[in-house]
């Protein structure tokens, strides 16, 4: 198990460097000259050269990339072309905002989505199942930015219950979290239902019932436990996509998250900002995947056993396997 985790962790830096190189190449294919964009309306060639040197843009592209990687390891992501401020100052404080938003949303999604999905599977084709099914499809198809604005109109402008924007206390998180949650929830419930239905039809569930187990044990112990694998995958993937995918929510509710910063960086062709944000998002995505893999191993004994030390096999071997000659 430990070997499995270590193996996955060792891959992380290589993955990050590969992603950074990919993004770096893509950004350098852009038509705009970053030095030109930083120059005032009037400048001389000396000014241009000095700015290029100051930002290390006078070096060859491979050199620029290596320098960036070396600095990034020390959490120095360079200086923003646009604001001239250190990118670390502009980006790192945003990480907790996005992380908190994604975490709260994911927890609520699990708390609501799993029971709803389980209920739908248990009461398949019931009125409840059909209502949830229709509602889920409805929620999953709502564009986030539109939903956000509608919720603001109703709950902030008309009713005045919660603030329309900004991060001022508990109330200000309610609308962003629900705007973020609802479209994801619709999809999540349907997936949980589907995973449960896959398991609920298995022989071991039928056997369990036949043996006279209580229905709650059959559902939660025998079925849900086995349905956990796809649910964990879904939850982890959703969480990872939420961290970087909250751009719309952050934009609509004026939350200074990392998604918004990426967008700002892209709009400004601010390469250090884009690179830093991409790396942070990649790190969280890889981290989420790593946790999923570990949870897989915890939940699924088959994966655990693959990486466990092989115990001495005392079972008699068949002649065809070379046991008896």
């Amino acid at each position: 198990m430990l070997k499995y985790v270590i193996k996955r962790i060792i891959m992380v830096p290589f993955l990050l460097i590969a992603i950074a190189a990919f993004v770096f190449i893509l950004l350098n294919l852009s038509a705009a000259d970053p030095v030109l964009m930083m120059m005032p309306s009037e400048y001389t060639q000396e000014d241009y050269d000095a700015t290029a040197k100051e930002f290390g843009l006078d070096k060859s592209k491979p050199e620029q990339f290596v320098n960036w990687v070396v600095d990034a390891v020390q959490l120095d992501f360079g200086t923003s072309y646009k604001s001239k401020a250190p990118v670390s100052d502009e980006v790192l404080f945003r990480v907790p905002v996005s992380l908190k938003l994604a975490l709260i949303t994911t927890l609520i999604m699990i708390a609501i989505g799993v029971p709803m999905g389980v209920m739908c599977a248990v009461k398949q084709y019931s009125v409840y199942d059909n209502i949830v099914n229709v509602l889920s499809k409805f929620l999953a198809s709502i564009p986030g930015f539109w939903l956000g604005l509608m919720l603001i109109i109703v709950f902030s402008v008309d009713l005045g219950w919660v603030p329309s924007h900004g991060m001022n206390g508990f109330k200000s998180w309610i609308l962003p979290v629900f705007t973020f949650l609802l479209p994801y929830l619709g999809n999540y419930v349907r997936q949980v239902r589907s995973a449960m239905l896959d398991c609920i039809r298995q022989d071991y569930v039928r056997t369990s019932r036949a043996k006279g187990q209580k229905e709650s044990v059959v559902i939660f112990h025998d079925t849900l436990k086995n349905a956990l694998l796809p649910i964990i995958t879904l939850t982890g993937g959703t969480f990872a996509s939420m961290i970087g995918g909250a751009v719309m929510i952050e934009q609509v509710f004026a939350f200074p998250g990392i998604g918004l910063k990426v967008l700002e960086g892209i709009n400004n062709r601010d390469m250090p900002v884009i690179l830093a944000c991409t790396m942070i998002l990649a790190l969280f995505t890889i981290g989420a995947q790593l946790i999923i893999d570990i949870l897989y191993a915890v939940v699924d004994p088959r994966i655990r056993s693959t990486f466990s030390k092989k115990k001495k096999d005392n079972t008699p071997k068949l002649a065809t396997e070379g046991g008896i000659k």
Partner: protein, 552 residues
């Protein structure tokens, strides 16, 4: 039976969802926000009902009311900004202007944003030598920075030494500057410049900072941003907001702030800002989006209109060979129906000005810009061009995409199908603008009555922002003529000679049809009903928040 019940339940659920959706879409006719209808005579039903606000007049419409004395305890004002300003030293970022206007001050001030009312601010008086070259400013002895330090001439020297490295333009006519004594500052110009007074000494974005802090922390650190304005930054939450506090007993009584706390809230999305205005959490926002302005009116909020710049479509003859021919440029100018474009795209809000250059001194349009598409086509054909020979791409930033598409459609309808448009984000457009790698680009002419040389500084001088205005590629002789007129204007000893040369230069640029004309942008300022005392400069959109106060 069970199936029927199911259908009913599903139908009910869908209906409920739709009703909820409709309720959301329905807007808020009963907005809690403000009401411009407090005075029924001010009730407006469309943006075109509103007259353009005059400089020096309260944009909220309460010019007759008297502002309170001193600071109104407990008052808050929330202003909207759609971008963050990580470093707000005055030389760092032009986007920091909204903050700079409040936390910095300069030698002189355009009182209430009116360029015809320039008064002493940090300077209690100034003298200009007979030849117009030496400007001597006498500083107030009671002026202080927000940290309590006294302002001295050496602070200006330190500030300007840094500023001219970052913002060289306002120093283009400055030969030298020196501190004669602690409270006397002397500026020597390289040539007489009648517009100098509107720029370096009076623009708050070139405000002075404390020399000690600047030397201690350097030019790219907010701890150096200690100004002399009526507000100071009490708190800055990166990516969220600036909290400004009024300076109590401000040294310049004329500019004493009334609002105790001003927040500049950073909200990336204009629609969210509008919602904030509607729920009262934002007190003021500005926009050039006609839809937002219509929403402001529909929700009975106060809307004021301020004249902004024009955006001519500059033609890059250096990039597109066919545009070197003045006949082609003139023919194209005849083919654009600006009134239709304004009506189609912007509900007619943005008028078609009579010149590339706004302001009272701007020249009249010549007949070369009259809308006559048949004449345009005939000119091209007579000159031996096929309509398909005219090929170029109009570069558009997202603010103007609709306009570009509509304009290209007009050309296409006339058979000029080789004219296309492409949209890039603003920063890419700016990069392409500087490098000249575009065919045509709608860019504001940079013209400001307070700095009328600016568009030519950008367009005629090598390395400028708008090489599109270079005549070099089209006609080197005309370029030399334009350069001579620019130099004559820049070194004019008096305003009359200056204006005369400027008019000739503007006429030359227009007669050469270097651009396809453009629409006059109008900027809308929306307020909640409790705001008073909003004085906004045209073009630069400077708002001096020290005059703001809240209705009782």
């Amino acid at each position: 039976m069970e199936k029927r019940t199911m259908k009913k339940v599903l139908a009910a659920a869908l209906a409920t969802a739709m009703v909820a959706t409709m309720a959301g879409c329905g807007g808020s006719g009963s907005s809690k926000g403000s009401d411009a209808s407090a005075d029924t005579s001010k009730k407006v039903t469309s943006v075109s009902d509103i007259a353009i606000n005059e400089p020096g007049v309260d944009a909220t419409g309460y010019e007759d009311e008297t502002a309170p004395e001193g600071v109104q305890a407990g008052t808050e004002f929330h202003y909207w900004s759609n971008y963050d300003i990580p470093i707000y030293c005055p030389w760092m970022d032009n986007r920091a202007a909204v903050l700079s206007y409040q936390i910095y001050s300069n030698l002189l001030v355009k009182y209430k944003g009116d360029r015809n009312d320039i008064r002493g601010d940090l300077a209690e008086s100034y003298e200009v030598s007979d030849d117009g070259l030496v400007w001597t400013f006498k500083l107030r002895e009671d002026a202080k920075f927000s940290d309590g330090c006294a302002v001295e001439a050496e602070d200006f020297i330190a500030t300007w030494d840094v500023m001219q490295q970052y913002q060289p333009r306002p120093f283009s006519s400055v030969a030298s500057y020196e501190a004669v004594d602690a409270h006397t500052l002397k500026v020597t110009l390289s040539a007489p410049n009648p517009t100098f007074i509107y720029e370096l000494p009076s623009q708050r974005i070139y405000g002075v900072v404390c020399k000690d802090e600047l030397e201690k922390y350097g030019p790219e650190d907010n701890r150096s941003a200690v100004g002399t304005g009526p507000f100071y930054v009490e708190e800055y939450k990166t990516g969220e907001s600036f909290k400004l506090k009024a300076v109590e007993d401000y040294w310049n009584e004329d500019m004493q702030a009334h609002i105790e706390t001003v927040y500049i809230d950073i909200i990336a999305d204009e629609n969210t800002a509008l919602m904030g205005l509607m729920d009262g959490s934002i007190n003021c926002m500005n926009t050039v989006d006609i839809e937002i302005m219509n929403n402001v009116i529909d929700n009975d909020l106060t809307l004021a209109l301020i004249e902004d710049r024009e955006n001519p479509f500059w033609l890059n003859a250096a990039k597109v060979e066919v545009l070197k021919d003045p006949i082609v440029r003139e023919a194209l100018c005849h083919m654009v129906n600006w009134d239709d474009l304004s009506a189609l795209v912007y509900d007619g809000l943005y008028p078609h000005p009579n010149s590339y250059f706004t302001g009272e001194e701007a020249p009249e349009y010549s007949s070369k810009y009259d809308y006559d598409p048949d004449l345009g086509v005939k000119m091209l054909e007579d000159a031996g061009y096929k309509l398909s020979d005219i090929k170029f791409e109009i570069l558009a930033d997202p603010d103007f995409t609709n306009l570009e598409v509509a304009m290209v459609q007009q050309f296409n309808d006339l058979g000029l199908t080789g004219i296309t448009t492409v949209t890039y984000d603003g920063a890419t457009c700016y990069g392409m603008l500087k490098s000249g790698t575009y065919d045509s680009f709608p860019c504001h002419n940079g013209y400001d009555p307070e700095s009328p040389l600016t568009p030519f500084t950008m367009g005629l001088i090598e390395g400028g922002t708008q090489p599109c205005m270079f005549l070099k590629a089209a006609d080197p002789d005309k370029y030399a003529e334009a350069e001579a007129l620019y130099n004559a204007a820049a070194t004019s000893g008096d305003l009359e000679t200056f204006n005369d040369n400027m008019n000739k230069l503007e006429n030359l640029v227009q007669e050469e049809c270097l651009a396809l004309g453009g629409l006059q942008v109008i900027r809308g300022y929306a307020f909640t009903s409790d705001v008073r005392g909003a004085y906004i400069s045209p073009v630069s959109s400077e708002i001096q928040m020290s005059f703001l106060y809240m209705a009782e």
